[in-house]
Amino acid sequence: MSGKLSGKDYVFWLLSVITMFLIFEALGNFGNLSILSSFSQVSLYEKQLFEITYIAAGGVFAIFMGSLIFLCLRFREAVQKESREIDYFKVSMPLLIISGGILLVFSYPYFSPYLPLQLQFNLGIIISLSMILLLAITFVVYKEYFKD
């Protein structure tokens, strides 16, 4: 693999950074703090400061995370593909992604800053399940590249 980056590589690098930026911004509603009203001058100042901080943080996050992902993929060690009777990666990955989708659908009603106290336990369970799912995906991807 060549150590020199081509024009195509730079395009992928940029795309990786932009994707990370958009994901970060979408998760935080582009820094819009909906819990604060716009009926006091102080809340307006806070909203504005939070928005600027969030967007700036998104830029920093995107540059580092986007570069990390791109460089890891671009310079990863070439893996000799061995033929397997059952490719567990191809079985487990779609299952995990489907589980993630189902979890997302179930957790959608909980994405509110005004969540009643009674439902906060459920939210805790959902977050725990999400972490276990992320762990499983990380493990499966890791095992795909590092067999031993």
């Binding site: 604060l36 009203s37 009926f39 006091s40 102080v42 809340s43 400061l49 600027i52 920093v60 540059i63």
Partner: protein
């Protein structure tokens, strides 16, 4: 200067510029909030004394009227809540309006309040003040300015 070094310097300078801008803006807003510089200069603010105590908010109006856990103000009018505590440290927190200030025994701190829209806003204690801390909830009732 090599290409790599210039990119490295650019990231450091970029991050420093972002931090400097954020710091400057925060300082500017903090000064305005701390001094109530956003108050209109032609209207005299009404001073209400607020005494936080386990687990109640006591509001003393300028005419001597006392109310507990409820304070009524007019929209668009400037108010100064002179905040103190009668026992332990509390903190007045009006989430929706972004106001938050510590109430410390022996000290009076001004909270400059002006609300543009009538409504009922919850007042919480944001400093753990004892076993009944979670019950220390009040209401800021904002009535129409013309009413």
């Amino acid at each position: 200067m090599t290409h790599k070094l210039s990119i490295e310097l650019l990231t450091i300078i970029g991050a420093s510029v972002i931090l400097a801008v954020l710091g400057r803006l925060s300082l500017h807003y903090l000064a305005i909030i701390d001094t109530g510089a956003y108050f209109p200069h032609n209207v005299k603010p009404i001073v209400i004394r607020v005494i936080a105590k386990q687990y109640v908010w006591e509001f003393i109006y300028p005419n001597g009227t006392i109310s507990y856990n409820k304070v009524v103000i007019q929209s668009g009018r400037p108010y100064i809540f002179n905040l103190t505590s009668a026992d332990v440290i509390h903190a007045m927190y009006i989430v929706q309006l972004g106001y938050k200030l510590e109430a410390i025994p022996g000290y009076y701190y001004p909270l400059y309040i002006i609300v543009d829209k009538p409504g009922v806003y919850a007042i919480y204690c944001a400093e753990f003040c004892g076993p009944g801390h979670y019950t220390m909830i009040g209401e800021l009732i904002v009535t129409s300015g013309s009413g």
